[in-house]
Symmetry: C2
Subunit: 247 residues, 2 copies
DNA sequence: GTCCAAAAGTCTGGAACCAGACCAATGAGG
DNA sequence: CCTCATTGGTCTGGTTCCAGACTTTTGGAC
């Protein structure tokens, strides 16, 4: 095997020579909007930004955006009204989750993709918590953290997921690294569909609440190691649950 | 402003409604290939994969890939030869670094960008090492790790950076999470320009070698905590050096 | 010297996507 | 009731990008 020098070999080339484009602009857009709806970024009854504005934000043409909106309209997620004060309104309530949905959702995703997403999330969220705990926090930062923590604890069941997301993302954003925050958001997105299929039960909430409190406490106490461990423990729980549903 | 309900507010919508396409396929491809060359994924004298294969990996058409290759050829990075045993060969050597270059490079980058990149790198590389140390390693994985470690230690000065990158990326890729590997590669890319501007001196190499050895040992011993700490210590060194050059 | 496989180079038709101009509907406010 | 700003709906021409078939060059193997 003379051949050309292979450099780092497979190592590195896998990461660097990965696909440049995620794929089809239309499908990608549908997926994004669907995530925004299911995550509650745009709540029930809420309105998407005007087409021209949204198209600019997403970096696509209005035509492509409209196709995506049309698809979601046909699928019953959106109600589009024209005229002033019109727009694309969210007409979708997340169904109350059942364990059967979860099993289906987990198996829809490939096993390797699930493992990838869980590993990635574990790494970046632990990293964010550790960084944040190691930083000198301002009063405003401390307040934001406790406020979002309170938000989860006081959330109505229908709002629980949204508040939970807000707490996790707050840690990421407070870390002060936009790159790290984006990575955490991305990681969360990849498991959102699955987490949404987990019923929100009182014991789970209480369990999670204790872990959330531990995370916040460790961060506020400035103990990076404890913060990292607390996040790891928290995420390990849901990760194990999801893994358990693999065929 | 009555308006529509805003959901998670800025949090989340920033991440969700970000651009779907990174931009122009051609430019994106040029950038990628350039990174691969500068990172040493394809070393001096080495050959890029055949066009058809590479196009498939990058998820673009051969036409677009060829345009990118042509641009790099014109810019003097590649030498393209046809016929069997032909291909696109790397004709580029990173210039020998001087401290003046480093100062300039650091200040070219914004302070916040530098801080962001360093934080991000710290988080994801620590995460990767921790994950890898916590996994049950196959013999092949162990061998890959020790082989890349030996690679750094035996590297000629001109080749040191490449081998160093190979070692760091090997840890990321062995973690088994493509997402995490991509994040580590991305993080490394953001500081490559700076690291390349640091002269490779014997004391630095010996210091780094000891830290590399500690990292590998912790991973092979299956001690996630030690692995994480070893990586943190290793990265903290260069991070402090770079921070010292801020205006 | 001839053959052949592997690689770059070329061409074509079509699909996806875009930018921008223009049309149509809607409902609050005068 | 009328006006008008705002929003979705439509159309047109052009650019980018793609999939695949085909051609040419090259150098090792026989």
């Amino acid at each position: 095997m003379g051949g050309a020098p292979t450099g780092l070999g497979v190592t590195g080339s896998l990461a660097l020579l990965r696909p440049v484009r995620s794929g089809n602009a239309f499908e990608e857009t549908v997926e994004r909007l669907l995530q925004a709806i299911k995550l509650g970024v745009v709540p029930y009854g809420g309105k998407l930004p005007p087409e021209r504005e949204l198209a600019a934000q997403l970096g696509i043409s209005r035509v492509t955006l409209r196709e995506a909106i049309r698809a979601l309209q046909d699928a019953g997620y959106l109600d589009v009204r024209r005229g002033r004060y019109g727009g694309a309104f969210v007409v979708y309530r997340p169904p109350h989750p059942r364990m059967g949905d979860l099993r289906r959702a987990v198996n829809e995703m490939g096993q390797s993709d699930l493992e990838d997403a869980l590993t990635f999330r574990m790494a970046v969220e632990c990293g964010a918590a550790q960084v944040l705990a190691g930083a000198r926090l301002t009063d405003a930062q401390r307040e934001t953290l406790t406020a979002t923590l309170d938000g989860v604890n006081e959330a109505a069941p229908d709002d629980y997921r949204r508040k939970d997301i807000a707490f996790h993302l707050a840690i990421a954003e407070l870390s002060g690294s936009p790159l790290l925050a984006a990575a955490c958001a991305d990681a969360r997105l990849r498991v959102t569909g699955l987490l949404n299929a987990i019923p929100v039960l009182r014991p789970n909430i209480e369990h999670a609440a204790a872990q959330h409190a531990a995370i916040a406490a460790a961060i506020l106490a400035g103990d990076p190691e404890a913060a990292r461990r607390a996040v790891a423990e928290h995420l390990e729980g849901t990760a194990a649950l999801l893994r358990g549903f693999l065929a």
